[in-house]
Symmetry: C2
Subunit: 446 residues, 2 copies
């Protein structure tokens, strides 16, 4: 019985309407959705919004020992909406279903694996007569993805399960947002304002009564000369903060030098089980991550896992099934505060499940450090692989160390994303420096 | 130690911005918020958006044996926003807090009782230094009221806990809404479209390929000549259905002659406990209710309580505390389908807790039927009481039967809302007919 893998990274900000999504963002999401191929096992049927690059497909299947010929890849015909997303009309159109049924050749899907399960994927499962193949089908069929990926819902449920949060609140209206920001500013704190949906720091900005040159986890910091300027700021940014008044905004105290850590859990009918932890390095928006999080004080890790577990258990009781990342910040004094949940398979999930457990082995987290880096500027994907091989830096199963290219060539900025696998974080960082020098000094090519 | 009672019925549709709320709706909400006075016990401090009618206040306190002089009533100064709501700025303004502290006279609040607990009330509890007096403070402080009163969130969590729902879904965007409506119409079913927030049928309408003269639980039914007209309908109504694209819309199969029943639960840290059940009679929008629901088949009641309990347990795990009404429909074949939750003290809560348990006694549901009716047209509140007394119809503690006026005189339409307490539903209905004839035949005064 085949598995059905669905690559889709739909930005919920736009509420089912793909028209207002910028082309850049849509192309980036479509490229990200190719990550589902990392999950492929022999015999899988894979649905993607765009055909994968054949070279990169071959690279991944070879690395993980998957029979490329046994995979069936379906790109449903582009319906009214965008070519970059697996929208409901695309997934459930007569033509799309026909292609999919052809690929399944009469077999019943026994498991659906989706990067971001949502109502469109639940509708597809219903159409295919295999709702039980999608864990959490009922929850997702009724729009649960909007809850499991929204920061406003997160704040309420996280507070509800007793998890510690940065001081702040959720505002649907401007007057409430103003009151929340003002209170924190008057207490002398910088403030981070977060859009309900939006990841990697691109959906957040910092507002402060001081200059904050390189904010972490936010696209910029706005220096207000005084609180008298708060209304001007909100005049200018309310529309952006709320996607045109469509969503609430989250207002939180901003901690400038906090570490950004996360714990992932797998939620099933029976339990929420801790999977892995890691750290995101921002400068200022996400550019690297380490799995496991390096040198985490044991009590901080305990706290992260304990409060993440409570959060995941709350999601389980709501009906969510699948992977959730409980994101947090670690303060200087050792306190751990939750900052968001992500009810989807994240970039981190791809790394620890495929490069970790499958490539290195089930013991990977006890003997290896994984460091993922974005933005390595290269002439092309094959050139990058060739240069890694020449330099002896490509992943070697014998030593279980080396570099893997994680995400295909991005023509927008001529970069690839790669993962360094080394014996420890220091070695991984050193190897990363070598990688980024392979096509000349870093500051020459950037 | 005093209790603090907060009367507020804030329509969440407007997301913290009271400006777009119509005057009629705002006045109606302000009048509804007076229901909190029914909960008063001697020594309570009561916060209201508008001063109560002294005669109606005296009526309620006398009926329930509460020492009127021991109550302190605070109407916070009207801030920037509306006089009809207890907005955050009104509750937490320096002047409002000063009045409240004066009323408290140095005493610490040990319990907050709110019709509709929300972030503004949580902020007030924090200001007063008594967050623990508000059950679910953390959840409400982070916008939980938006989850606990929204129909979109309800659908996801109800499906997630395995409760049976009318077929349908939740749509954030118009393309998805169209697909959901089309699917049901093509299956031959009428469809009800529900705004995310909005009660008593005023936030819903039915769309069907047939004429439905008196839809139940909806403000109107739209007869589409064919599915070709669906786009025209959505063109015209999308803005209304989504409050200007602010909220998702719920799309469900509509069951024309279903009974509208509900079960209420009290959610504490430890458990979700079944409280009462009842039935709403619509014609077409809510006009009466019976507690308990008359002649409910025992297995239907069992199902209602079982699935309501699962829903309430899900809310408890999310952090909600307080009363929740699990609303449902009972189909001809005995099936019970959940239709919404209401995370607040409803009109029904007011009836069974105060007229039921306090006035009649803890055994009320075993020996009495309560019928609440809206829209009794009367010259004035005192005239209504006098006429009930003359007719021997007013509530009599000796027989534990008779009529209680539940909601004060509404100058908009010259009506009051009343509750009939009788030995059974038939007797209650008969008594209601006598009440509505007291000022002449019903069709003369209407």
């Amino acid at each position: 019985m085949p598995r059905l893998l669905l690559g889709d990274l739909y930005p919920h900000d736009f509420g089912g309407d793909v028209a207002p999504i910028s082309d850049t963002m849509a192309r980036s999401a479509a490229a990200g959705s190719q990550a589902i191929v990392w999950y492929a096992e022999s015999g899988d049927v894979i649905v993607l919004p765009q055909a994968p690059d054949p070279e990169f497909l071959a690279y991944r299947t070879t690395l993980l020992g998957v029979d490329r010929e046994s995979l069936r890849i379906v790109v449903p015909p582009i319906a009214e909406a965008s070519p970059y997303f697996l929208t409901r009309d695309r997934l459930t159109s007569a033509a799309g279903l026909a292609e999919l049924r052809d690929a399944l050749a009469g077999r019943t899907v026994d498991r659906i694996v989706a990067l971001m399960p949502d109502a469109a994927i639940a509708a597809l499962a219903t159409e295919l007569g295999c709702p039980e193949a999608l864990p959490g089908h009922q929850f997702f069929s009724q729009g649960g993805a909007l809850l499991a990926n929204g920061k406003a819902c997160f704040r309420a449920v996280a507070a509800g399960v007793g998890a510690p949060l940065p001081p702040g609140g959720v505002a649907r209206g401007r007057a409430d947002a103003r009151a929340l920001v003002m209170e924190l500013l008057e207490q002398g704190h910088p403030v981070i304002l977060k859009r309900d949906f939006g990841g990697g720091g691109m959906g957040s900005e910092v507002v402060a009564l001081e200059a904050i040159p390189h904010p972490v986890g936010a696209q910029r910091a706005v220096h207000l000369p005084s609180t008298d300027h708060l209304d001007d700021y909100l005049d200018e940014r309310w529309d952006w903060l709320t996607n045109g008044d469509r969503f609430p905004v989250v207002v939180e105290r901003y901690y400038h030098r906090a570490r950004a850590i996360f714990a992932e859990f797998e939620i099933t009918d029976e339990a929420a089980t801790f999977e892995e932890h890691g750290e995101i390095i921002h400068a200022p928006i996400a550019f690297a991550e380490f799995i496991p999080a390096p040198d985490l004080p044991p009590d901080a890790l305990d706290r992260l896992v304990t409060i993440g577990q409570a959060l995941a258990e709350g999601m389980r009781m709501m009906g969510y099934r699948g992977v959730v990342s409980a994101d947090a910040i670690l303060l200087d004094d050792g306190e751990v505060l939750l900052t968001e949940w992500n009810g989807r398979m994240t970039a981190s999930t791809t790394i620890y499940r495929n490069l970790g457990r499958r490539l290195i082995g089930p013991d990977f987290s006890r003997c290896r450090a994984l460091g993922e880096f974005v933005g390595w500027r290269v002439p092309s994907f094959p050139a990058a692989v060739a240069r890694l091989d020449e330099a002896g830096l490509h992943y070697d199963p014998a030593t279980r160390t080396g570099v893997v290219i994680v995400k295909g060539f991005n023509p927008e900025d001529s970069t690839v994303r790669y993962c360094v696998i080394a014996e420890n974080t220091e070695a991984a960082t050193q190897m990363s420096s070598r990688v980024e020098g392979l096509f000349g000094p870093k500051d020459q090519v950037r």
